[in-house]
């Protein structure tokens, strides 16, 4: 069998038993998110408590995983959300080594069900699957857990583990894979509720492919002709001799004179890495500098990241100022993960150079958060903590003694240990601060009397919706197109298809011409200069999520894919939207077109939407699920909507946007799938199910 392994592993933590079953019946859902969602749909009854033993976690990968397709080292985990309204189906995605190792163990998916009475870890080492005692590991940080299990089972073993946050059943908890790759969405709580401390994987099996030669050529073509840097930004930040354009906001930061300053043996210059040089493309993204500022250059050891990815978006640093402060002075992460709680401080204490105080505090908070297995809901936890502090609400949720125990002046002086003072109380699970790590919806539920309506609707929080999920990304990047992508999900949308396009660095005219060829005139607005909703935008938004779901099922990293653009001026900067289909064909030996693959991905979306409708308990998704917060309409109050200088939305226009988006998916005016649509995707059983619940 090519691509897939054809097998899934079922582990029951109540009995400690495991079984190997066929995964073939799920191939219509591709794999990854699709396979995992379908399994949850079939096996976890609607309304199950996310933390009940009957609740399941499904970890899945796809036919493309392990093939060395660039950026194919991604695993999707599906489960019921503990932290958003309706506790509906969500997915978390994790990189690192897990995906390739799961394939190496011979499985397309792992189903984790039941709950152990005492702490356990699942051990899958080659053909041996056991549930082992983890009493000694409970209470250890994710780093300590990984080291302990690798010491026991082998230095190359992939370990995913929870820390204190998951053990103490915080909604905002994650699972950490390897050195700092995270699966969020509250999955740490599900692990914790099952007393599942970790999963240790090591496998030696192959991913069989139909045409290895074609695959090698394809991978080379993708890396030479289509890929740029992080987020597939295809234009460098500074002018370079091979480039027509430069754009300071892109993530193609590498250039002559910018180094991995702390590299072993002396600085390594990132240089010019022109398109067509796959053996240099790992130098294009100097993410430590992008996230921490220029001061991070001399602390950057190298870029790292997920298995198979040539982009290397994790900035690996060594910060000696953390000696004696944290267990280790090295860390790597990307984006918010590099500085998750730096915003808790109002000032920073520089040590050697301007800006190194902020960098040090950022890395400090990243080490703490990852060791605790604390998830931040894309910055929401930091925003919530600040909201409570800034609005004088901390004193209202704590006793005077508890309030006095914390030295709040550290925030002003920039003493970074303030971050630990706060986080250790958060992860304890027993302090009032722990209640702020429930996700915005449940924080609001608990504290609405002191929060009022402002919290969920505030621009200080920038949620995408009232179900409590953060905006990641939305109207700030592409008007209605960006915002619409979120409504598919029951957590932060994480759709990077669209934001990668708007942030690519190319001149607006070039971007617009290329995407208009695919979706029609008017689909792409200028930055901060938006126009009213139109059909082309609806098509564009649909493409955004369909491709994202394809990637999460295939698997590929949606933070880089699809290849809408190319860095090659000889191609007119046009990418290749059939690249995924070409990979699928080379891997499986069956010829797939982009349309066929998109259709399979849309099947997954239709199922996901139906599952969400069931969780909401109503077809009225328009008013009960797809509601965006007030700040989206009121931001930049001095600038009228649909004029230059604002990203605000308009209420009537948003309702029109929803209508057009629903039409694209074949949903009714309320945003619910119809029988006709479900049957078109072979989901008649789902239609029957919805009908039986009066939801069709």
């Amino acid at each position: 069998m090519n691509g897939w392994t054809g097998k899934l592993l079922r582990v029951n933590l109540t009995t400690g038993q495991s079984a190997v079953e066929s995964s073939e019946k799920y191939f219509d859902y591709i794999g990854g998110k699709g396979m995992a969602n379908r399994i949850i749909y079939e096996e976890v009854p609607n309304g199950t408590e996310p933390t009940a033993p009957e609740s399941k976690i499904v970890m899945a990968i796809g036919p493309n995983t392990g093939t060395n397709a660039p950026c194919s080292g991604r695993t999707t985990l599906a489960f019921l959300s503990p932290f958003t309204k309706y506790n509906a189906i969500v997915d978390a995605h994790v990189g690192g080594d897990t995906a390739v190792m799961l394939k190496g163990c011979g499985f397309d998916a792992m189903i984790i069900e039941g709950a152990a009475a005492n702490p356990v870890y699942i051990k899958v080492i080659e053909d041996e699957v056991t549930v082992e005692d983890a009493t000694d590991l409970w209470g250890k940080t994710t780093t300590e857990t990984t080291a302990a299990l690798c010491e026991k089972h082998g230095a190359g073993v992939n370990v995913m583990s929870i820390g204190q946050a998951g053990e103490n059943l915080l909604n905002l908890s994650c699972v950490i894979s390897g050195v700092a790759h995270s699966a969020g969405g509250g999955i740490g709580k599900l692990f914790g509720s099952k007393k599942l401390k970790a999963i240790a994987l090591y496998g030696k099996k192959a991913t069989q492919v139909a045409d290895a030669k074609r695959l090698l050529e394809l991978n080379n073509y993708i890396m030479s002709d289509l890929m740029g840097a992080n987020n597939n930004h295809v234009v460098p930040t500074v002018p370079q001799s091979w480039a027509q354009y430069s754009n300071k906001s892109t993530r193609w930061t590498g250039h002559p004179g910018l180094t991995w300053g702390a590299a072993e043996g002396g600085p390594i210059d990132t240089g010019e890495s022109a398109p067509g040089q796959p053996t240099l493309m790992g130098y294009r993204t100097q993410k430590a500098v992008f996230d921490h500022g220029p001061v991070a250059e001399k602390y950057t050891v190298k870029m790292v990241g997920c298995t198979s990815c040539p982009i290397r978006c994790y900035g690996g640093v060594n910060v000696p100022m953390l000696e004696g402060v944290t267990p280790n002075t090295t860390h790597a992460n990307t984006c918010i993960g590099n500085r998750p709680y730096v915003g808790l401080l109002k000032n920073y204490q520089d040590v050697h150079d301007e800006g190194d105080g902020r960098m040090t505090a950022g890395v400090y908070s990243a080490i703490l958060a990852d060791d605790y297995g604390l998830w931040d809901n894309y910055g929401e936890l930091n925003a919530t903590l600040n909201y409570f502090i800034n609005n004088g609400l901390m004193e209202k949720i704590m006793t005077p003694e508890q309030y006095a125990e914390i030295d709040w002046t550290k925030r002003e002086t920039g003493d970074m240990t303030f971050i630990k003072d706060i986080l250790e109380r958060v992860v304890s699970g027993t302090h009032p601060l722990s209640t702020l790590a429930q996700g915005a919806y449940y924080v609001d539920q608990q504290y609405h009397d002191i929060l009022g309506d402002d919290y969920l609707n505030s621009s200080a929080m920038t949620l995408w919706g009232l179900i409590g999920a953060k905006r990641h990304h939305g109207n700030e990047c592409a008007a209605q197109v960006g915002m619409l992508t979120n409504i598919i999900y029951n957590r932060d949308g994480m759709c990077h298809t669209i934001v990668n396009i708007t942030g690519s660095g190319l001149p607006y005219e070039i971007q617009r011409n290329i995407v208009e060829e695919h979706f029609g005139e008017g689909c792409l607005d200028k930055p901060k200069n938006y126009t009213r909703m139109n059909e082309a935008k609806a098509r564009f938004a649909k493409f955004g999520v369909v491709r994202q779901v394809l990637h999460d099922s295939f698997t590929l990293c949606n933070w880089v894919w699809p290849m809408t653009f190319s860095p090659r001026k000889e191609r007119g900067y046009k990418g290749d939207l059939s690249a995924e289909a070409k990979l699928m064909s080379a891997v499986t030996g069956k010829e797939w077109t982009a349309e066929e693959l998109d259709f399979a991905a849309e099947r997954v979306i239709q199922l996901h939407r139906a599952m969400t409708v069931k969780s909401v308990g109503s077809r009225d998704m328009r008013n009960l699920h797809d509601v965006i917060p007030e700040y989206a309409y009121t931001t930049e109050p001095d600038v009228p909507v649909f004029t230059e200088g604002t990203v605000k939305m308009e209420k009537e226009d948003w309702q029109l946007a929803l209508s057009m988006f629903y039409q694209q998916f074949g949903w009714d005016e309320q945003g619910a799938p119809t029988r006709e649509t479900l049957e078109k995707f072979g989901l008649a059983d789902v239609a029957d199910d919805l009908a039986a619940a009066n939801l069709l």
Partner: protein
Amino acid sequence: MSKGIMNRELTRREFMKLTGKGMAGVALSSSLLRLFDCTQAQAESGQVKVYPNSEYVLVVNKAKCTGCQRCEVNCTLTNDGKAQPYLSRINARDNFQFGPKVNENYLTAAGFFGDWSVEPATCHQCENAPCMLACPVGAIYPDPLTSVRLLDQEKCIGCGACVAACPFGMPKIDPDNGKSTKCIACGACVAGCPTSALKIVLWDEIAAAL
């Protein structure tokens, strides 16, 4: 062509005399450093390893290795028609996190959990290759033209003697066909490295630089 091989062999012997078992402590010319794409400091610190074979020198720079493991799958896609990191003739997957094993000082030792250094391990194309000597059926042999130690899968009986004999743990038995595998210096790993942590330097180039 024959003169080229003679020159190559001389250069190899000269080079081996110069670098011995490694590059640490060796003063290299600037043109040689440029070829190997490293500084004198990097060569002296031992972070750059060289694996000479009859075709070229494989240069492995652990400061540049980012642990992506693309080298591994490029190897097996090219040589075995499938993607199988375990079988690869270059190995980063077992040491990129902690080095070869987890030590007490893992937070400052090699690997992602320590100082970030990753050293992919690969075949040394040994002159008196233990794998070749151990093979009971002569399935491992030197290529008559290049003297790279090749493997004849037809002859191989999958006994595992080469696996046991290799001090570097490189040959493996392919579970799918029961045959041994080993590095044949094809260069697919180099072509797959996004940071040029693996580099091929031809003997002609080295001769010019020595």
